[in-house]
């Protein structure tokens, strides 16, 4: 438990350091940082509407964060959440546009289509890794670009909004939208949608899968020590493919939450930033579902508040992005922070007596 505590502190320190660095930047650009942060968080949290929008922005981030975190837990680095998200969104959109069904049936189908689209896009790098030992970092990045161009072609030629406007896809029918009337009403018409519940269910499901099931045990053992898993007879290749399929479907779900919940169509030539933010969120959230959810909400608030901040104070919205970037840096430099913490602890504690606590680990 103690080790986890220092890790949580490390993440929190990264956030604080990021905010401090942001304050310096705001100061340097000739503005008042207290006022800046006040407006940043006011923009994200000050009203029911704003909270609803922050949560709507956090929704796909929870899912892409989960996708990356889950892959990490199983020893894989999924940089392909952006592409998986696109393919999830595309499959769901196509289904919604071509299959006329009543909402009660259409909605589950659309969600399933998103899961499948992401699963396929994540599964291919998993398969390549298992069969030919292709590094998943390379293949997921390539899959991102394939998705990018596939979207471009399909949106332009198959499902354009109109004959004239071919850079965005046609609006999905409202029966397929993840927006819920009562929910939007509750939040004064905010973008918040069914996706948030799906994301929370996904977080709980992943937590359960990783900690309570034999499959989670298997995947984690492959992730921590592939050779050790092999030794014990665990089907390592199957594990890697499955892990990427699950990670992909999570990102695919993020596609549904974003393109069919927050938006109602897809754009060409955009690789969704949420896919890459997922990496930062997983890092900051220590690869745990609960940590990912909290960091995603934090990111969502900042995303929602940054424009309000710049409107109120003339601080450029890029400052918010910079703060996020600095936080990522500090989270990545966690090892450094660990050392700092250890150093501080050592300093505070008087030198321990010379008792031999345990046998040395081999003659070092």
């Amino acid at each position: 438990m103690k080790r986890i505590d220092t890790k949580v502190i490390t993440s929190l320190m990264a956030v604080v350091a990021g905010l401090l660095a942001g304050a310096v930047l705001i100061l340097a650009s000739g503005h008042n940082p207290v006022l800046g942060y006040y407006n940043l968080f006011r923009g994200g949290l000050a009203s029911v509407l704003r909270v609803g929008n922050s949560l709507a922005l956090a929704t796909p981030l929870i899912l892409t964060g989960l996708s990356v975190a889950f892959a990490n837990k199983t020893g894989l680095f999924n940089i392909g959440a952006a592409g998986q998200m696109l393919m999830g969104g595309l499959s769901a959109s196509m289904f919604a546009l071509y299959v006329p069904l009543p909402r009660a049936i259409l909605l589950p189908c659309v969600i399933l289509a998103a899961l499948l689209g992401g699963a396929v896009w994540g599964g291919i790098p998993g398969l390549l890794k298992a069969l030919f030992n292709v590094n998943e970092v390379v293949s997921t990045i390539m899959m991102n670009w394939i998705a990018f161009w596939v979207i471009s072609v399909i949106v332009r030629t198959v499902i354009p909004e109109s004959y004239h406007v071919t850079t965005v896809s046609a609006h999905i029918p409202s029966a397929a939208s993840l927006r819920l009337g009562w929910l939007s009403g509750l939040f004064n018409g905010a973008y918040i949608n069914l996706g948030l519940f799906l994301a929370i269910i996904a977080a709980i499901a992943i937590h359960f899968l990783l900690n309570k099931t034999t499959l989670g045990y298997e995947l984690k053992s492959v992730g921590f020590n592939r050779r050790g898993a092999e030794y014990a007879g665990i089907p390592v290749n199957r594990g890697m493919i499955l892990a990427m399929v699950i990670a992909g479907s999570l990102a695919g779900l993020a596609g549904a939450a974003y393109y069919l919940g927050y938006q109602h169509n897809m754009q060409v030539n955009v690789l969704p930033q949420q896919g890459y933010d997922g990496i930062a969120i997983a890092l900051l959230g220590l690869n745990t579902p609960i940590g990912v959810t909290i960091s995603a909400v934090f990111f969502g608030v900042m995303q929602a508040g940054k424009n309000f901040m710049s409107a109120q104070t003339a601080i450029p919205p890029e400052i918010a992005d910079t703060i996020v970037a600095v936080i990522i840096y500090f989270a990545a430099a966690a090892i450094l922070m660990h050392r700092l913490l250890d150093y501080l602890k050592k300093k505070r504690r008087p030198k321990a007596g010379g008792a031999v606590r345990k046998e040395a680990n081999g003659d070092a």
Partner: protein, 504 residues
């Protein structure tokens, strides 16, 4: 006799561990001084302090009567202190001469002159090193001599040998001892780090015993018995031999037929190897490290593909079966590399104990893990095998000492109640007490009708445990001997690939 090196009241701490506590050792000029202690006792740390790799937290080092601060290997070299490390530090595609002069080569390289000097040194000390041979083409024993030459070339007077015999055949060991005596005759002084009593008895003048970072005492080797030294090392009386009754072996459990296996570089590592292991017998596989043992075991466990030949387990062809099936069919495996293969270091101890069985009842049901059963299993193994860990079953394995990690693996594999146990270096890194215990358990398994293939680089272990001894050299079976009708010399000779009666 004067002291060439004195280490006085040395203290060295690592986080949570005092590796050396008030250690005083004196090396006389012209003696072989052994440092004896279990793994983790602090021998290597002490010598790393002398060689300048670590800075002591307390105490002083006196070389030739003068107090010195040794802040790196170069400073140590300048004082005439050299070290042969346990794992050689040689460039494999360089020649011996190139390796020897590496790091002190003049700007204008005259290889011929250097080679001539190497040859002179080599002849002077009877090392017989070819100055133009490539490291990758020469034997491990020869590589060690290159390391020795490296020190001599740097005019070292004090030579530290860190576990020098771990990688050698018995013949190479006796030659190394001869070399060590020649070095002494030429006026050098030697520190020999080891945990093998027999070697100390054979070659050392004095011996300092270290236990848990503290000096137990320094003795004249001629005046004490091996058993007395063992007792000093461990702190209690131990039995150096294994009690084992003769037993008639039963049916064939493992049958290896004309097995050939490739290594990572796709060259033949195991060639046409055949061997039967029967119920109720221990077969020891003796061989110098790197002669195909690793590949053979990997092929038997399903971790490596077989090129040709077959393997039967209880009559069932398992040549192409998965590792999981083999385990289900009754195979257990104590792996050579405990950290890379045997354990998931970031898992807890209790999770490591179910690594082969997590998908079976009682440890899981309908895909869900059952923590109660997992904990119960862990408590049982921890009790039975005296595995010590700070937080019991919840300890993360990475935080445990090497010896306890090994005990955890042995315990887990024994609890599978296997038909066949492949025990590779089962006591590696363990203290004498634990070795005694694990040997006893292996014999118990054998008496209960288990078949054991014991692969070890420690010939003593093989001799003590085995009913029969199979010798492997260059991936080929050289021969099978009855354990009670052979001796170290015969096995040692066979380990080099020479069959009895070959006459070469």
């Amino acid at each position: 006799m004067e002291n060439i090196v004195e280490m006085r009241n040395i203290r060295k701490e690592f986080p949570g561990i005092v590796a050396n506590d008030d250690v005083t050792v004196e090396l006389r000029k012209g003696e072989i001084h052994a440092l004896l202690g279990e793994n983790g006792a602090g021998k290597s740390t002490l010598m790393s302090v002398l060689f300048g790799l670590y800075q002591p937290d307390g105490g002083e080092i006196i070389v030739r009567g003068k107090r010195e601060r040794i802040n790196g290997p170069n400073a140590a070299n300048a004082l005439g202190i050299g070290m042969v490390h346990q794992h050689f530090k040689l460039v494999h595609n360089f020649t011996t001469t190139e390796n020897i002069i590496l790091g002190m080569e003049p700007p204008l390289l005259d290889i011929k002159k250097a080679a001539k000097r190497v040859k002179e040194f080599s002849e002077m000390y009877g090392l017989n090193v070819d100055p133009y041979a490539r490291i990758e083409d020469i034997s491990v024993g020869m590589q060690q001599r290159v390391e020795i030459l490296k020190m001599l070339y740097r005019s070292a007077e004090v030579l530290i040998f860190d576990e020098p015999t771990a990688v050698l055949t018995p013949q190479e060991i006796s030659e190394l001892m001869k070399i060590m005596r020649t070095l002494i005759e030429q006026g050098k002084s030697i520190v020999l780090i080891t945990h093998k009593l027999k070697e100390i008895k054979a070659v050392a003048d004095r011996c300092t015993v270290i236990r848990r970072g503290k000096v137990v005492g320094t003795v004249d080797v001629g005046a004490v018995t091996e058993a007395a030294m063992a007792e000093m090392m461990v702190g209690r009386q131990i039995s150096l031999s294994v009690d084992k009754e003769a037993r008639e072996p039963g049916e064939v459990v493992l049958s290896i037929n004309n097995l050939s296996v490739l290594n990572v570089r796709k060259t033949a590592a195991v060639k046409n190897f055949s061997l039967d292991v029967r119920a109720g017998e221990i077969i020891g596989l003796a061989g110098v490290d790197g002669n195909g043992q690793t590949e053979l075991v990997e092929a038997l466990t399903g971790l490596r593909n077989v090129q040709s030949g077959g393997v039967l387990l209880d009559g069932k062809d398992i040549t192409h079966e998965s590792t999981r099936t083999r385990i289900k069919d009754g195979m257990a495996h104590i792996p050579e590399d405990r950290q890379n293969r045997g354990l998931i270091l970031d898992f807890t101890l209790e999770d490591n104990f179910i690594i082969e069985q997590y998908m079976d009842e009682p440890f899981s049901k309908n895909g869900l893990l059952r923590r109660d059963a997992i904990r119960e299993n862990a408590d049982k193994i921890i009790d039975n095998f005296d595995v010590r860990a700070g937080e019991g079953p919840r300890s993360v394995v990475r935080s445990m000492s090497g010896g306890n990690q090994q005990k955890a693996i042995v315990g887990r594999e024994m609890e599978l109640h296997p038909r066949l146990l492949l025990a590779v270096q089962p006591t590696r890194g363990l203290d004498v007490g634990s070795i005694e215990y694990i040997h006893k358990r292996l014999v118990q398994l054998r008496d209960a009708g288990g078949a054991i293939l014991l692969v070890s680089l420690e010939l003593d272990e093989i001799m003590a445990l085995s009913d029969k001894i199979a010798v492997i050299s260059h991936g080929q079976l050289v021969g099978i001997l009855d354990a009670d009708k052979t001796d170290e010399n015969e096995i040692g000779l066979m380990m080099t690939g020479i069959r009895k009666g070959d006459g070469s």
